[in-house]
Amino acid sequence: MGIEEKVPEGILTTSLDSVINWGRANSTWPLLFGLACCAMEMIATGTARHDIARYGSELFRASPRQADLMIVSGRVSNKMAPVIKRIYDQMLAPKWVIAMGICASAGGPFNNYAIIQGVDKIIPVDVYVPGCPPRPESLLYAMDLLRAKQRGESVGAWRNVEEPVAADEIMPLGV
């Protein structure tokens, strides 16, 4: 039946989508980027008891250029928002975002002048995690949901993502 009968033994055929998504979903490297209380739970997720390494995501990269996943762990202030936007733009596609906790999702208890009411006002979010802060188990479940999303994506879809605006057009990192 088709090409599978022609190839020698020990070779499998599959679609490009499934093999690339298999790789992406099982080694999503998060950005080493903490904001507030939720970052403590993010670190707890990375340590021995909860062990994010079981899911292939233990490699927290400090450089946005090596990371696939931004976990926005905490409240986003007006001063920090342009920085987050810039870091997000520096990440290479494909890239995903988890809004961890109620502050990153919708502002949470800080409905005031200083805090942006949800990080989705500045960058697109794939998974929202409720909780203040969410337990490590919640974050692991969010990774599960993200993995399901990653498996359903098409490789071609990321080719059409718009190029980000040049970073210095967005904000200065002035003093």
Partner: protein, 616 residues
Amino acid sequence: MPLDVAPVFRTYETQRTLNPPGIPALAPMPTGETDDTRRICERFGEDIVAAGLHNGNQVVMVEPSQLKALATFLRDDPGLKYETLIDVTGLDRSHLPLNGDARFQAVYQFRSYSRNQHLTVVADCEDEQGGDGNQAQIDSLTGVYRGAEWPEREAYDLMGIRFAGHPDLRRILMPKNWPNHPLQKQAPLGGEEVPFTFTWDDPEFDTLGTQILPAESKAPDLPPGMSRQNMVINMGPHHPSTHGVLRLVVEMDGERIVSIDPDLGFLHSGFEKTGENKRYKDFVYYTDRMDYLSAMSNNLGYCLTIEHMLGLEIPERAQVIRVIMAEMQRIASHLFWLATHVLDVSGTGMSLLMYATRERERILDLFEMACGARLTVSYIRIGGVWQDLPDAFIDELKGFLRLMPQKIREYEAMVTEAPLWQERLTGIGYISAEDALGMGLTGPMLRGSGIDWDLRRDRPYSGYEAYEFEVPTSDSGDCYGRFIIRLEEMRQSVRILEQAVDNLPSGLYKSNNRKVALPPRAELDVSMEALIHHFKLMTEGFHVAPGYYYNGIENSKGELGFYVYSDGSAKPYRLHVHGPSFNNLYAIDHISRGEMLSDVVTNIGSIDIVLGEVDR
């Protein structure tokens, strides 16, 4: 549509009609006298507006022209010896019934470590009549106490008070183009209205996920005092070793650091303004999120302040439970400090991170047993604690206490004697005792320079006087000394915990005063009166008599202070938080000069900052 960063005014926030007549009211004048106030009055005579005791604190109100002279006198007089200026903050009284008095006041907290005295100094700011509040001015105390620099900048940034003679009066927390001074009373709380129904036709959703902030595009300025002749390196706000969103502008000459200009405020969350719009009991939940590594201590510091203003007696059992929780939190916080400090300094530290967080998880498990939360606990409430300890708690805690000393020895075996570790820490980040006092440093930063001071022992609260423990100090003044101190503090906390567990009395876990503390759930089913109390507390809250009070407790990082000004209503009129991380971080410039860039990372770890508290 660009995101509008200008604050949105929310009309539904203010409910002044709830207040009975006579509220808001000014705080009464201090009464009585003490040795110190008498001595100050003798020296300054007419220039002292009022002096005495208020809510148990010594208070001196001084004419603004004599403020600097008073501060110098306080520091230099052999009979007073107030070595340290703990805190500076401002007070905007425009919503109080003033009779032509000054709108702004500056409030200073002085501390004498050698004489174990605390003194609050209040001075009116000079202001033009009926102005918009941007002309208030007062003398800067930076010439007398160096540590006043940052608190004064904060008061300028958030309150708009100008400090004449300040060397570097810039905004410190807010973006530099921020339109107002958020803590002034006419500045709105801001935020967004919470919609209860959504339609996807809402124009808000058109730009969701694509909005960017409007910001001018230009080359970064140099901070004042830095030279382009030298190399200027930008560290943060996204950096793995700054323990959060801290930005340091480091000026380097070759390999050596010339100066550092920290840029704060990337996590500024408006805690103080939010607190002034919440009822007293509702701010407890916010304190968790300030120093999120020691939520229990934050709860405790805030509750003690309000309880003192209410004159509330706390049952014995509740006090011991509080001590247990605060000491467990200290161990947990120090464990996390150890883990990240070792990780930052030494590349092999990953294993210690795993070991230390393993023990920390056990503490978090115990917290979870007591209150259901791991991190943001809100367990200590005004009047006592939220609920009684579960039966299995004490046995679990005893098991942990048996294990902990052995684990501390394990950590020590990994780093204390290691030559690499000693090389990286010894002699790095040196700070002398005089500098530590002048900068207003607290906690292990102070004890690391040989000042033998611990609020738990020297100004005991929550029954700490009943426990036997030692206060470790070190004369070395460097990162290694502070490292040894924090390890020893963990051992002492274990010791306190052992005593507390053995002497846990039975009885009430929260105050019986139904006007302040909620009635137990079971009582609501049988008592109409309990239901009324519950309803009153949940809707209106309790009122605190007009007055003000500053209270500090020994947090794992230093002195955590709360200054609360009440106008008699159910919300604090002014709520100021003195975060130890904020004041201790001020030292980073001083201790890093002349060292290498890699030592900055050591110094940040050694200061032990939490950005949630630095930026508030």
